[in-house]
Symmetry: C2
Subunit: 292 residues, 2 copies
């Protein structure tokens, strides 16, 4: 039975996920370069570890909720977390990473007699806080079953998407193709409404309730009509995630024309200085492009 | 009070809409080049008119549910329906047409002392049958109010999108930007899943229930996984509607990069012989493009 969890990467999502693991009765030793986040976990009943290796030392499972595979490699190899993890322990990579990098990492981890589970998540900070994440698990079924209680403490929809590392990352990349294209498409449609001199609130109401609707239109659309909306997810997150999606296409040899166009719009908005603004503001790229 | 309606264009949608008008207590004189559709309306209690002009002769309202403005012009001018319509009668153009063509038509109709109402619909054949269409009305508010009972007999959501002809057509074009891009994006995502060797049913289930979801993904996605699905709306409808969307952008001077890419994919599928197949089959363009 999994009892002891090491959790590395205590950002907005990781902090919420580790808190949910504590609430579910697991012991959680947490580590992050941000000392304040580590201490916050300690104050909630977790172990505030001094290093990634220290967190991993008595763990059954090492969860990585870091930014990318470069950080995952640094934690596992340079900072010694993989060596510290007891034999037979499982490394769960929950970050959004390119499938081929995940496959390479899996080979190196399993070569050292540790289990590797490719299990990225969808649902953002809100889903992390509500323990309602979608978790995309690619691993032998036995490994998933052994970890099911861990996943269920953090998420609501646990999918077994395949048995091989990289397949979870692939599904996440496909998910982000649609998320990114849908945000950019909403911006394209609402900007056309502005150009046509229509009332943007009425246009948004019509589109949201018709066959033109999408989850992203309903969520991001209202913020596209605001000048400086709250940041729920930044432009640069989609520069990263659509970059991973396009890299997934390149590695699998698959042209992704819509995703590549959407990427250019997020990139342009980042280039113009909006990288840390809410991703709904990709509409500004359309406004600049067309002199609105 | 509007009592007598002339209805020209008794295709799948027009037949259902005129039947709903009969059910609501209006008298309806219908005309179509397809004599069988006219007789079907007669059998339901409507007047099977011998010509468009004959249908319009005693009407308060002339509804045009034809394919495009060329057909609308033929009905109004060549076939004499506008002259036949009593003075003060209203021409309601409910087809999907380019805004600048709608504006031009409105000028010619109002120059002959008739009312023109730009009022395209969204909701397809299913919405037409269920009297649940979304109707996008651009006209002076008084004209809309005078026709409200007519619209409510056919639709559920009646929007006053502006006072000038062409604004309804613009909103419809914007709606179709999103519908077309969302169908193509769903195909791009599901085809990438196929390329990555993932289970397409699981991928679709994950995407449909996440932030990647759209109305079109839920509706068209399952048919993308079928070889010869039922045709609910054809590829060539989107060749037409995205063509109108791009023409709307050109006329308003607005670049629509995502819509233009989506258009090329529907066009390619039509070019390959799939024009009359279900629009979900735009996924075949992705498969061919990438040798799947």
């Amino acid at each position: 039975m999994t009892k002891h969890i090491a959790f590395v990467g205590l950002g907005a999502m990781g902090s919420a996920m580790s808190a949910n693991l504590l609430r579910a009765g697991f012991t959680v030793a947490g580590y992050d370069m941000n000392r304040r986040a580590v201490e916050a976990l300690g104050a909630q009943g977790g172990v505030a570890a001094e290093s990634a290796a220290a967190a991993a030392r008595e763990a059954d499972v090492l969860i990585l909720m870091v930014v990318n595979t470069a950080q995952a490699r640094a934690v596992l190899f340079e900072q010694g977390a993989l060596d510290a993890l007891p034999a037979g322990g499982a490394v769960c990579l929950m970050a959004t990473c390119p499938p081929d990098e995940v496959r390479a990492l899996a080979r190196e981890v399993t070569a050292q007699s540790k289990v590797f589970v490719d299990c990225p998540v969808s649902g953002g900070v809100a889903g992390a806080r509500a323990a309602s994440l979608t978790i995309l698990v690619a691993a032998p079924l036995g490994d998933l079953e052994g970890l099911r209680a861990v996943f269920e403490a953090m998420g609501k929809r646990i999918f077994h998407v395949g048995t091989e590392a990289g397949q979870g990352a692939s599904v996440k990349a496909i998910n982000q193709v649609l998320c990114g294209v849908h945000i950019a498409a909403a911006a394209e449609a609402l900007a056309l409404g502005e150009r046509a001199g229509l009332d943007p609130e009425i246009v948004l109401e019509i589109l949201s309730g018709s066959a033109a609707g999408s989850w992203m239109l309903s969520d991001r659309g209202p913020r596209m009509l605001q000048d400086t909306p709250e940041v729920t997810s930044a432009i640069d997150i989609f520069v990263k995630d659509l970059g991973i999606a396009l890299e997934t296409g390149r590695a699998a040899k698959m042209g992704l024309p819509l995703a590549s166009i959407a990427m250019q719009l997020f990139l342009a908005e980042s280039a113009a200085g909006g990288g840390r603004d809410d991703d709904s503001q990709v509409i500004r790229a359309y406004r600049r492009l067309n002199g609105l």
